[in-house]
Structure formats: structure tokens, C-alpha cells
Amino acid sequence: MSIPETATPHLLSGVRTKYDKVRGNWVLLAPERAVKLDQIGVAILEETTGSCTFGNILDALSTKYNAPREQISGDVQKFLTSLIDRRMMEVRDVSV
């Protein structure tokens, strides 16, 4: 199941990022889970504000990192889907 470009992903309540000073990296904290975030994960979550659509997120990342949209789309889709499957994120899609 893929996320439509018009859908708006957002982190669920009780799911938050934190800079882990001891280990020197960002983590995503959720019920019973701590997910280590790499630079790409951090960059994606910075754009996932809850008011930007998936399409907006791809535009922003493409501009910011000077990378072709079609090249990053798959990775971003995969990352967000993994969070959706783990009940850390949901999407709202007003167009459906």
C-alpha cells in the first residue's frame, strides 16, 4: 500500500524525536520502541509536520538536498510506511 501524494502523514501522540546526547544521534521514541534515526530519517521527519502532504515533503526534500524527486520518492515512501506499519504514524487523506 503506497502513500498518495495528497495524503498528510503525522506522528501519532506519544511518538517523539529526541537528540540522544549519550550516543550522539537522534532517536524516535514510541511505546516500547526507540528507533535510531540516521540523517535521512531526521531530514524526513523534519518535513513531516502534520500539515504537509507527502507531495510537499518530497518537494521540500528534493529542493533542500538538490536530489531528483523520483530518486528520493521510494526511500521516503519506504521510511514513512515502516512507521505507519509500526503504529507510530498515520496519514490523513482528504482527497479520498
Binding site: M1, L12, S13, G14, V15, R16, K18, D20, V22, R23, V27, L29, A30, P31, E32, A34, I84, D85, R86, R87
Partner: protein, 371 residues
């Protein structure tokens, strides 16, 4: 505590702990016959003070703990739970309240959320009042739990339902899963009773049959697929019917630590059953010293301590030789291969005993606080 402190060797690799289980109290209104608390329970007078707990939370955060599980007994039995949640947020620890629900009101839960509580894990003893209250030994417990579940989701706090399963309720797993979904829980833990301590006294009453355990595993696998994106299911199988041991604690002293109500620090909640281990206390020793230098934590860290058949086994990096406490209880040697493993000389005996207990029945021996 002047126990000899072995120095970590190059082979021992461990980082800072990710999670800490704070057993705030052994007091609990319920008396579940499989309680993971020790047979010798600590009374109120032996518990750490609010100030010490708060300082321990600070030390834990500095050490690298990310997740703080507030447990018991029933953590809501502590009147200072509010202050402890405030301290979790002040030290930026992710707080998880592991509760039976008894002792919480809508007002109290709202207050805990305002102070920064991150997540509620609610225990479930059965899918109806008759079963749940019989197992918990507390009349009215089930109805209160249903209220707590409603308040939790209405407050938009993430909810995990923790269903402990055994011979008497394991067949009702489909209803348990439906209940978790209809409550709006995001996670369900299906945890088969682990036969230590109180549960060991109730083997005849609670040991599931091999067929029950197998069906439970199949149902979990089916539900995980069907409910992807709806409900996350974590599963602790019936290890006495398995061929390989569980990766207990993800490896001894590797990722987590446990503080018991009187302040002693242990690698797992049953570690006190290993008689030669000496546990330091947060009243006397800084938490970082305990994590890094405690002889109890270093005893089974890494792989150097392993005898055969674990030492040369290619599964050792996956299951770490299983559960030290189970090895102690059944083999009489905490360094032995977990008798659950097919490579253990005690495997056949363990399975035969599990089979016998599964087909036996007996009265429930409930957990009791000392008079």
C-alpha cells in the same frame, strides 16, 4: 557491598542501557498467581523515597536510558506517582506506566498526562469479568480496567494492552485481539506466563498444552498480518514447548536494567534467584558504577562465560544461551544452557514435565504480601 569486581574484557561489548524498569513498589491490589515479583516481597517501609527515585531517574538519563518503565506491584499505589512522572519529563525520559488500572481515576490519569506521561500499558487477566477477576483475585478489577482503557484513549495517550496468557485463557486469544482493536489500543502484548517465582507454584493450573501454545502462535501470526497498520502485536511464546530458548533480556546486562522497590539493581527481575550474585543498591552506589562495574551485571555479559554447548553454538548471538534464571532453577547452574534448548541434556526432562503439568490441574496459589 565489597564483592570482587571483575574488569570488563575486550570481548564484552555493551553500550549504555536503553531501558530501565523501575519497580516502584510491590504493593498491588491484585494478586495474580503468576506475578513476576519475587516470593519475598518488600513492604512499604522498605521502598525508596520520592527523592531517591527522582535522583535515580536523573542518573539513568545521564547514563543513556531512553525508556523508563514505571512498574510494580501497582505503580499507582505510590501516592507520589505524579511527582515521579514530572521527573521523567524533566529528564526527558520516555515514561511508560505499567498498570493494572486499579488506583487510577479519570482525574488522576488526566493529571499524569499533563505532567508528561507518554504511554500506558494496561494488564489484562481475561476477556470477561469472571475470568479476569478470578485470575487477578480482585472483584471489580475488570470493569475498572475497561474504564481506564476508555480514559486512556480519550486522552489520546497511546495504549498497550498486556495480555498474560496461560492454560485457562489462551484459547480466548481471538477475543483478546478483537478487544484490543475495539479499545483503540495500538499495541498488544501476548505474553505466555514464564514459569518463575509465583508462576512456578502454579504450573499445574497454568501450563498451556503444546497444542494450545501452537495454536496461539498461529493466531498471533495471522492477526499480525491481518492487522498491519492497526495493531502491533508483540508475542512471548510458551518457551517450555519450544526447541530453542528466548533471547532473554536481549542478552544479560546489554540493554536494560531493573531497580527493585528497595533500591537494589538487577539485570532482570528474576536475577535475585541466582544465589551467588550480589546486587548493589542505588542508596549506596551511583547507577553508572553499577551498570559498568557490578559483578552481577558482568557475570553473564557477552559470551566469555559460556560453557559448551553454547560456546561453539552459532545461535549464541541470537539467543545468548537463553535465560540464566531458568538455567539456575532447572539445571542448578546459572551458566548452563537454558534447559529449553534442544542441545541441553535436560531438554527432554523439561518438556516431559511441561507436558505433565499441562495435563494436570491444581488450585491457584495467589501472590500474597507478608502480613
Amino acid at each position: 557491598m565489597d564483592a570482587p569486581q571483575p574488569q570488563p574484557t575486550a570481548e564484552i561489548t555493551y553500550g549504555p542501557p536503553i531501558a530501565m524498569l523501575a519497580e516502584l513498589t510491590h504493593r498491588c491490589p491484585l494478586s495474580c498467581p503468576y506475578c513476576s515479583n519475587p516470593l519475598e516481597l518488600t513492604g512499604r517501609e522498605g521502598e525508596l523515597s520520592t527523592e531517591i527515585w527522582i535522583d535515580v531517574f536523573r542518573q539513568a538519563a545521564e547514563l543513556g536510558v531512553l525508556q523508563l518503565h514505571l512498574s510494580g506491584g501497582e505503580p499507582a499505589s505510590r501516592r507520589d506517582l505524579e511527582d515521579l512522572i514530572t521527573a521523567c519529563r524533566a529528564h526527558d525520559l520516555y515514561s511508560n506506566l505499567i498498570t493494572s488500572g486499579i488506583g487510577l481515576t479519570e482525574k488522576r490519569l488526566t493529571g499524569l498526562k499533563e505532567r508528561g506521561l507518554d504511554h500506558v500499558q494496561l494488564s489484562l487477566q481475561g476477556v470477561d469479568a469472571a475470568m479476569a477477576d478470578m485470575i487477578g483475585g480482585y472483584k471489580g478489577g475488570y470493569n475498572r480496567k475497561m474504564d481506564v482503557a476508555k480514559w486512556t484513549t480519550a486522552l489520546d495517550l497511546p495504549l498497550t494492552l498486556n495480555a498474560v496468557v496461560h492454560e485457562k485463557n489462551i484459547d480466548r486469544l481471538p477475543e483478546t485481539i478483537d478487544m484490543a482493536v475495539s479499545m483503540g489500543a495500538r499495541r498488544l502484548e501476548v505474553a505466555t506466563v514464564q514459569f518463575h517465582g509465583w508462576a512456578d507454584k502454579n504450573r499445574a493450573a497454568l501450563m498451556p498444552t503444546r497444542e494450545q501454545a501452537k495454536l496461539c502462535g498461529q493466531r498471533v501470526a495471522e492477526a499480525r498480518e491481518r492487522l498491519k497498520g492497526v495493531l502491533v502485536i508483540d508475542y512471548v511464546p510458551a518457551d517450555h514447548h519450544a526447541d530453542y530458548p528466548k533471547p532473554c533480556m536481549g542478552g544479560w546486562g546489554s540493554t536494560g536494567l531493573n531497580i527493585v522497590p528497595d533500591g537494589r539493581v538487577m539485570p532482570c527481575h528474576a536475577a535475585h534467584t541466582i544465589p551467588h550474585l550480589v546486587f548493589e543498591n542505588v542508596r549506596d552506589t551511583p547507577l553508572a558504577d553499577i551498570w559498568n562495574h557490578s559483578s552481577a551485571f558482568n557475570a553473564y555479559r557477552g559470551f566469555d562465560w559460556m560453557p559448551e554447548p553454547c560456546k561453539s553454538c552459532d545461535r549464541k548471538t541470537r539467543d545468548f544461551g537463553g535465560c540464566r534464571c531458568q538455567a539456575m532453577a532447572i539445571a542448578g547452574d546459572a551458566a548452563a544452557t537454558d534447559p529449553v534448548c534442544i542441545k541441553s541434556p535436560l531438554h527432554a526432562q523439561l518438556q516431559a514435565q511441561a507436558e505433565a503439568d499441562a495435563h494436570a490441574d491444581g488450585p491457584l496459589t495467589y501472590r500474597k504480601m507478608p502480613a
